[in-house]
């Protein structure tokens, strides 16, 4: 029956090709615009690590100036990062399954002279837990172990791009890379790790791809590695020199803990409270107790990962789709009502009002689905254009994607638009009195 309806609908569309193209392209534009903006927003808001987003927690402690809150949109928020001292303090806890302090530095890489001149590269300093905690995929080898953290052993993990650049993409595990004034042994090569948002460090370039080089955090002191990230300071400058910086109240370390269940999260919360109270006794942490243990999505909301414009544009694009649907109602109404004779004949031959209604709704949905398909194609083109734009500014060309959820959304939107636009014209058509249209 439905197949029969579809055949009739198809025939009806073919009867007036120009009108049909206009109708379909109207809805296609609506779907293209709304799908594009939904995908635009989705690229930012999508959970970058869904399998673990409940168990990963970002730690913030309010060690800021007693006289005034950390600057920013929300004065109740503690500093975005923690001090080096506090990182050392809270890493003594054994409650988290895994944990890592981390920061990014701009380090000199000395490649084989045949490959090229020395160059600077963003390098992440982190602990061994970083790799299993964030489910980082490896092509060759693996991360380092906790023993290498303690050493620290001169080991390095490279991204697949860096491995391509330095070693032509071959398995480089066991080979040596010179960073600043030391040789590091390659223990692992990543397999194209590309989360949509660099969720583990939202302080800068949130949608950049992960760093290309990773080394143990504890090289900080022996190599006197300075952060290339944000350093938020307040109050007196502290003792001079590198050690003075490490002991200062400057906030510059990001800290993540993996807490597998609510019980461990609660225990860890208690631990942090006890830690801060202990520090208060020593004269630090003069602000009210304000520890945050945030999930990935809470962190993304706090860091404002989704641009405000993206939400505004999504609203505008849905209104655009509404205009297209209203437009469709008008066009369908004209098209259907002009068909009184045909409907009259069908009614006279025994078709019920429900049959007529169904027939016309099917036709509307056919139009909507055709429009949806064209719209998805148009939106793919638009997203490719935006990726090209992003590539020139961010050196990343794979950020905007039409994944399955977005395709389903746009098919859903098409069906909904077709139905909403079709109900009234179909209802009007099935109420036409057959007798009126059978007279000649």
């Amino acid at each position: 029956m439905l197949l029969h309806n579809l055949r009739i609908a198809w025939k009806s569309l073919r009867r007036n090709i120009t009108l049909s193209i206009l109708i379909v392209s109207g809805i296609a534009l609506g779907i293209a615009v709304s799908t594009t903006f939904a995908a635009f927003r989705h690229a930012f808001s999508k959970d970058p690590i869904p399998q673990k987003s409940d168990v990963l927690r970002y730690v913030r402690l309010d060690s800021w100036d007693p006289l005034k809150p950390y600057p920013g949109d929300d004065p109740t928020r503690p500093p975005t990062q923690i001090t080096f001292r506090d990182m050392q303090g809270i890493m003594k806890s054994t409650i988290p399954l895994r944990q890592s302090g981390m920061f990014v530095s701009n380090m000199y890489v000395y490649p084989d002279p045949k490959v090229g001149r020395p160059f600077r590269e963003l390098t992440r300093l982190c602990f061994s837990d970083f790799f299993p905690m964030f489910d980082v995929p490896f092509r060759y080898g693996s991360g380092w172990d906790r023993k290498a953290d303690a050493g620290p052993d001169p080991v390095v993990v490279l991204s697949s791009e860096m491995n391509q650049k330095l070693f032509g993409g071959k398995n480089s595990v066991g080979r040596t890379v010179r960073l600043a004034d030391r040789d590091f042994r390659v223990v692992g090569v990543l397999a194209g790790w590309r989360p949509n948002v660099r969720f583990y460090d939202l302080t800068q370039n949130q949608i950049a791809t992960p760093e290309n080089i990773y080394i143990p955090f504890n090289f900080l002191r022996p190599m006197q590695i300075r952060t290339n990230g944000n350093t938020d300071g307040w109050g007196t400058s502290g003792a001079p020199g590198f050690e003075g910086f490490l002991q200062s109240e400057t906030c510059w370390v990001q800290f993540w803990a993996e807490l597998p269940n609510e019980k461990s999260a609660a225990a860890y919360r208690d631990f942090l409270t006890a830690y801060v109270l202990e520090q208060k006794k020593m004269g630090r942490f003069q602000r009210p107790l304000n520890n945050r243990l945030s999930t990935v999505s809470e962190m993304m909301a706090d860091a404002g990962v989704v641009p405000k414009q993206a939400t505004a544009m999504l609203i505008v694009s849905l209104l655009f789709l509404a205009v297209c649907a209203v437009n469709l109602v008008g066009l369908l109404l004209g098209k259907f009502l002009a068909r009184g004779g045909e409907v009259g004949v069908r009614r006279a031959l025994g078709a019920s009002r429900a049959d007529i209604f169904l027939q016309h709704i099917v036709e509307c949905e056919l139009i909507a689905v055709l429009g949806g398909l064209v719209g998805i194609l148009l939106s793919l083109g638009a997203l490719a254009g935006m990726n090209a734009w992003l590539k020139t500014t961010m050196a990343r060309g794979d950020f905007f994607k039409l994944d399955l959820s977005m395709i389903l959304l746009s098919v859903g939107l098409s069906l909904a638009a077709g139905f909403i636009a079709g109900v009234y014209p179909a209802w009007r058509t099935c109420r036409l009195a057959p007798a009126m249209h059978l007279k000649v």
């Binding site: 160059f119 109050g235 505004a312 437009n327 008008g330 109404l333």
Partner: protein, 421 residues
């Protein structure tokens, strides 16, 4: 005119005309708000920095040769770099400063008026040498510029202080205070001093170090993550280190960027090859900083265009059906003496009424949507002029979209009325 018959006939087809009313209303609401957002973005992009943006080149030297770890070597390299850069034909001025406009950030500190016990105010802070103002193209409106001797002696003094263990008193502040002469922006001076008279006054920071204001520049705008875009303090200092390298700004003679740029890296590497050199024109940095706004403007313009297209399509559709439905009436009217112009006028008037009803509702919707978007975007309230432009635009589009199908209706021959009765 024919208001009576038009309104009565519309009353019989409420839904069909109602749809166009809704469509026009939504269109006006969206178009007005999109134009408003475009206006916001363009205004933000058009804000002048106060610098000679078009002729400034950023040059960053990142050393890797171990010799650069030694202070004396670094100083000699810095002097040589400035000398080499100045010698390039077409270079107007060279400055050693870490300030880089339009990158969306920089460095900041907090200060307050000396002895005021007031709140510490946040401001941007950068090192500068005697040529920094000339290189940026900033205009000194009060006081004086830094002298070369001052920059050299302050550099030496600051380095001694940071290398020494500054002993601290009971209040946590270093016992030996530093005192420096600084140049600030006028906006920052106005923020600090109610009467705006900042020259000769002093500021202090959390360490109790003091900064005497010896110069004021009139315009400074560098977008920052915190709302301190116009507040700046420059202090005299040459800045270079092994880790951080050294940063220079070059101001070239107008139109000389193309000839100067290719010579810079060669000249610097010839002077010292143990490093990498990175060049960026200020216009590139600015373009990158504004690229998101630029994209927004493009996308919104496209949305406006598509929307007007779709709405016009709807109006064309309505008129086509309305003409088709009334072929016989048109014929009758024509037979009774109506001119083509009367028929055309009828349809145009009918459409104008529908559009205007839509616009009345649309104005309310536009303001409603604006309120919803403003709270999300911290954008601006919509200007009434903008709504008027939107209304005019939709009137024109509405009449245009009606004209062609209506002309076809007007061409119906009077004879049609007599057929098939």
């Amino acid at each position: 005119m024919e208001f009576g018959p038009i309104l009565r006939s519309m009353g019989r087809n409420k839904v069909r005309y109602g749809l166009i009313v809704v469509e026009v209303a939504l269109t006006l609401a969206i178009v007005a708000n999109c134009v408003n957002m475009i206006g916001d973005a363009r205004r933000e992009m058009a804000r002048p920095s106060g610098f000679d943006d078009d002729n400034i080149l950023s040059v960053r030297s990142a050393p890797f040769a171990p010799a650069f770890k030694e202070d004396g070597y670094l100083d000699a390299a810095l002097r040589k770099d400035i000398e080499v850069l100045r010698a390039i034909p077409g270079v107007h001025a060279v400055s050693n400063t870490r300030f880089l406009p339009w990158q969306g950030g920089g460095s900041s500190t907090t200060t307050r008026v000396l002895g005021s016990k007031g709140e510490m105010l946040r401001n941007q802070v950068y090192n500068a040498d005697e040529s920094t103002l000339e290189t940026l193209g900033s205009r000194l409106v009060e006081g004086r510029n830094f002298t070369r001797e001052e920059v050299e002696s302050d550099t030496k003094r600051l380095r001694e202080v940071t290398n020494s263990n500054r002993p601290r008193g009971a209040d946590g502040q270093p016992i030996d205070k530093i005192s420096q002469d600084v140049i600030i922006s006028r906006a920052f001076g106005d923020l600090l001093f109610k009467d705006g008279k900042s020259l000769g006054k002093s500021l202090e920071d959390d360490d109790g170090d003091q900064y005497r204001i010896v110069g004021v520049i009139d315009h400074f705008y560098n977008p920052y993550g915190w709302p301190i875009h116009e507040y700046v303090m420059f202090f005299p200092n040459y800045s270079r280190s092994f880790q951080g390298g050294s940063a220079y700004l070059l101001r070239v003679d107008p139109g000389k960027m193309k000839t100067v740029r290719p010579q810079v890296e060669k000249a610097l590497l010839a002077a010292n090859a143990g490093r990498n050199v990175q060049l960026k024109e200020l216009t590139e940095i600015k373009e990158r900083f504004q690229s998101q706004s630029a994209l927004l403007v493009k996308i919104l313009s496209l949305v406006i265009f598509l929307l007007l297209f779709v709405t016009s399509l709807g109006i064309v559709g309505l008129t086509v059906f309305s003409v088709a439905e009334r072929t016989r009436q048109i014929g009758t009217r024509r037979a009774l003496g109506a001119r083509k112009l009367d028929i055309l006028g009828y349809f145009l008037l009918e459409n104008w009424l529908v559009t205007t009803m839509g616009l009345v509702i649309g104005v309310a919707l536009a303001y409603g949507l604006n309120v919803a978007l403003v709270t999300r975007l911290n954008g601006t309230r919509m200007d009434a002029g903008l709504v008027i432009i939107g209304v005019a635009l939709l009137w024109i589009f509405g009449l245009g979209a009606t004209y062609f199908p209506a002309r076809k209706g007007a061409a119906v021959a009077p004879a049609v009325a007599t057929r098939n009765v």
